[in-house]
């Protein structure tokens, strides 16, 4: 493409070169047409109106569901009316966030409806042509009626179309300068309030469960909404900076439309109203997307590496290692740390989440969600280069979730959809004695306390150090008793008593979670006899050697003499104490 065409392309797409030196330097290495296409596509993704419309429809539908669950519940009428009002008000408040897009959706639906009516009227007129059985008078009368109907439908459609255009403009205006992160945070805060409202309502257990599931779905939808937009914006900004390009000031990001005529493969919104910037065509984006995937992945990897470097800086005593793949695809990467995640000092903007850290709700252009796993401390902290991570070393860690993770997930499960639900009063219908040995019960109790600590230490507000230290001492005692007189050993529990301190508690807790299975394994093996007690060696002590028969006889004789003497003394004492009986 020559310079003139490029100039046209830049002008058409609304880009200007702001830094000629940077642009000239970088332009040699790329196809500029592809670059402009890429930037255009990224802009579309950043402010995809179709995306927000689908999202809004989805959330509004679920809000309707929340309302109907309560309205249809027969126990709900027992609730305090003020609390029902609060619940309704908060749902209304959440709907208000979608007011503009809701009007836009309604206008669009109305326009489609009116258009359908117009087509129906026209079809009836065509049918009239085909109907040869009608007499002239009836045909005339019917034609005039349908003509009137068609005109009315056309007028209604034109009005609906005009309203749609106005609503679309209002919507586009409202999303200009729109902060996706701020919007999501507000939605999350509101759905949390609605969840709190639910707790105050009298509802059947089924309805409560349905509410929880729906609220949880809404929260997930909000959390995952727009992540692609954020990533696209990051990439767009990076490319612009790299090539010294900017979107021209007279171009509104929210109103980007493709200069190419969209294909009409689907009967969607694009077909109904040509001006509407509908979903991006599949064919148009295929090649650039593949390129984007690679670039984004690299970019995310770089971000993970940056966080890794920052973590190392902020936590000098802690060992870190970047792991190739996270255990869960929702994470962008994984870093293993020798400290528990909540004990780490995090880079600015980051916060703790379950099994990881993130900055996605912070005001950042580089959102990233990182899983933080466990790393066994090596002897030399300095000798842990990032590249030394090998899949073989990582496999055991990633393949099986740690006991801590399992405990945390058990706690989460109980909080949300557990069989013993939160906030509900259960009647105890029966009670019976349990037959359980003291050792299995102790192991079970240890695991139970560990699970509860695991749940509460997920929250940084609870200082669990002292609790951990206390449990540390107890489980060490249990371990020593369980392995007494055997060769069984759990390295992690070979802790000198002096080291079981509150300062070491987080590490102790971590260690104990890891070995709970091992303790249970030892118990089972002891029970089955697989681990047998060691035979005690008989140490023959000279002082306690078996006595010869002569010695035994001599000792017996001495004992008899002593017994007789004692008997004689006792007899004399009795006589002394009873003077009248003897007549003395």
């Amino acid at each position: 493409m020559d310079g003139k065409n490029l100039e046209t392309l830049f002008a058409e797409r609304g880009f200007v070169i702001k830094n000629p030196t940077v642009f000239t330097k970088e332009a040699d290495n790329v196809d500029l047409t592809e670059l402009v296409d890429r930037l255009t596509n990224l802009e579309k993704k950043i402010n995809s109106s179709a995306n927000i419309v689908d999202f809004a429809k989805n959330i509004l539908g679920k809000l309707d569901e929340l309302e109907s669950i309560v309205n249809l519940d027969e126990y709900a009428r027992l609730s305090d009316s003020g609390k029902i009002d609060t619940y309704t008000k908060d749902i209304k408040e959440m709907r208000a966030y979608f007011a503009k897009v809701q009007s836009f959706i309604r206008a669009e639906e109305n326009m489609v409806f009116q258009k359908q009516n117009m087509f129906d009227a026209m079809r009836k007129i065509y049918d009239l042509d085909k109907n040869k059985s009608l007499d002239d008078a009836t045909r005339t009368s019917e034609t005039l009626r349908l003509y009137g109907e068609k005109k009315a439908c056309e007028a209604a459609y034109n009005k609906a179309y005009q309203t749609f255009i106005e609503q679309r403009k209002a919507y586009n205006d409202s999303v200009r300068g729109f902060s996706l992160v701020g919007f999501k945070n507000e939605l999350l805060a509101t759905i949390n309030i609605i969840q709190i409202d639910c707790k105050d309502l009298a509802l059947s257990p089924e309805s409560k469960e349905k509410l929880q599931v729906t609220i949880s779905d809404i929260r997930n939808d909000i959390a995952y909404y727009g992540l692609e937009s954020i990533r696209s914006k990051t990439e767009f900004d990076t490319l612009c900076k790299r090539f010294g390009i900017e979107a021209s000031s007279n171009k509104k990001v929210a109103e980007i439309t493709s200069t190419k005529e969209p294909k009409r493969e689907e009967l969607n919104k694009t077909e109904v109203h040509p001006e509407y910037s509908g979903p991006v065509k599949a064919g148009e984006e295929l090649a650039p997307v593949a390129q984007n995937e690679i670039k984004s992945e690299k970019s995310v990897k770089d971000r993970v590496k940056d966080v890794y470097e920052k973590l190392k800086e902020l936590n000098p005593g802690v060992e870190f290692k970047i792991v190739d793949e996270p255990t869960n695809p929702r994470f962008d990467g994984r870093i293993d740390a020798s400290e528990f995640v909540t004990n780490l000092h995090l880079p600015e903007g980051f916060y703790y989440m379950n099994n990881g850290i993130s900055n996605k709700y912070s005001n950042t252009n580089e959102p990233v969600i990182i899983e933080v796993g466990k790393l066994e401390r090596t002897a030399k902290l300095e000798d842990t280069p990032v590249q030394e991570t090998t899949p073989k070393e990582v496999e055991p860690e990633t393949a099986k979730p740690s006991l801590f993770d399992r405990a945390a997930s058990a706690i989460d499960k109980l909080r949300q959809k557990g069989r013993v639900e939160s906030g509900k009063k259960y009647k105890v219908t029966k009670s019976r004695n349990a037959l359980i040995g003291s050792y299995p019960k102790s192991l079970l109790t240890f695991t139970a306390i560990g699970a509860v600590i695991g749940g509460i230490t997920l929250s940084p507000i609870v200082p669990a150090a002292a609790i951990g230290a206390g449990l540390g001492a107890v489980v060490t005692t249990l371990y020593r008793k369980l392995t007494k007189n055997t060769d069984a050993k759990v390295d992690e529990l070979e802790i000198p008593s002096a080291e079981i301190t509150p300062e070491n508690a987080p590490a102790i807790i971590r260690g104990f979670y890891k070995v709970a299975d091992k303790l249970m394994d030892i118990y089972k093996k002891r029970k089955s006899g697989e681990i047998a007690p060691k035979k005690e060696e008989v140490v023959v002590d000279v002082a306690e050697r078996p006595k010869t028969s002569e010695e035994q006889l001599e000792e017996l004789s001495e004992n008899i003499k002593r017994a007789l003497a004692e008997h004689q003394d006792a007899k004399e004492d009795i006589l002394d104490d009873a003077p009248s009986m003897g007549g003395r």
């Binding site: 257990p205 399992r406 405990a407 058990a410 499960k413 109980l414 909080r415 557990g418 069989r419 013993v420 639900e421 939160s422 906030g423 509900k424 009063k425 259960y426 009647k427 105890v428 219908t429 029966k430 009670s431 019976r432 004695n433 349990a434 359980i436 040995g437 003291s438 050792y439 019960k441 102790s442 079970l444 109790t445 240890f446 695991t447 139970a448 306390i449 699970a451 509860v452 600590i453 749940g455 509460i456 929250s459 507000i461 609870v462 200082p463 669990a464 002292a466 609790i467 206390g470 449990l471 001492a473 107890v474 489980v475 005692t477 249990l478 008793k481 369980l482 007494k484 002891r526 007690p533």
Partner: protein
């Protein structure tokens, strides 16, 4: 309600009561939920005992501050029991 018993709740869930703690004059139990085959599951709950009209009810404790206090008490009581555990051969 007492430790070492299995209680059945009105939703047919069985819970084995492992430890008891008294906190602010209320009774709390560290429990494990039993599965259908009466085996301990991986669900652990702390239950608060509520007695009304001579009938026992339980409610799951979720408040983290209360849980933190209760864990201390459970650990204390558990520690006492572990110290008094007989040797393995004698116990089993």
């Amino acid at each position: 309600m007492k430790v070492d018993t299995v209680i059945t709740l009105d939703n047919d869930i069985n819970c084995l009561l492992l430890e008891k703690a008294v906190y602010n004059t209320d009774n709390y139990y560290l429990s494990v939920v039993l599965d259908d085959s009466e085996e301990p599951s991986d669900e652990y709950v702390v239950l608060k005992e509520i007695v009304e009209n001579n009938e026992s009810y339980v409610m799951r404790v979720d408040d983290e501050a209360t849980l933190a206090e209760l864990v201390k008490l459970f650990t204390q009581s558990f520690g006492e029991k572990v110290r008094n555990l007989p040797d393995f051969e004698d116990a089993e």
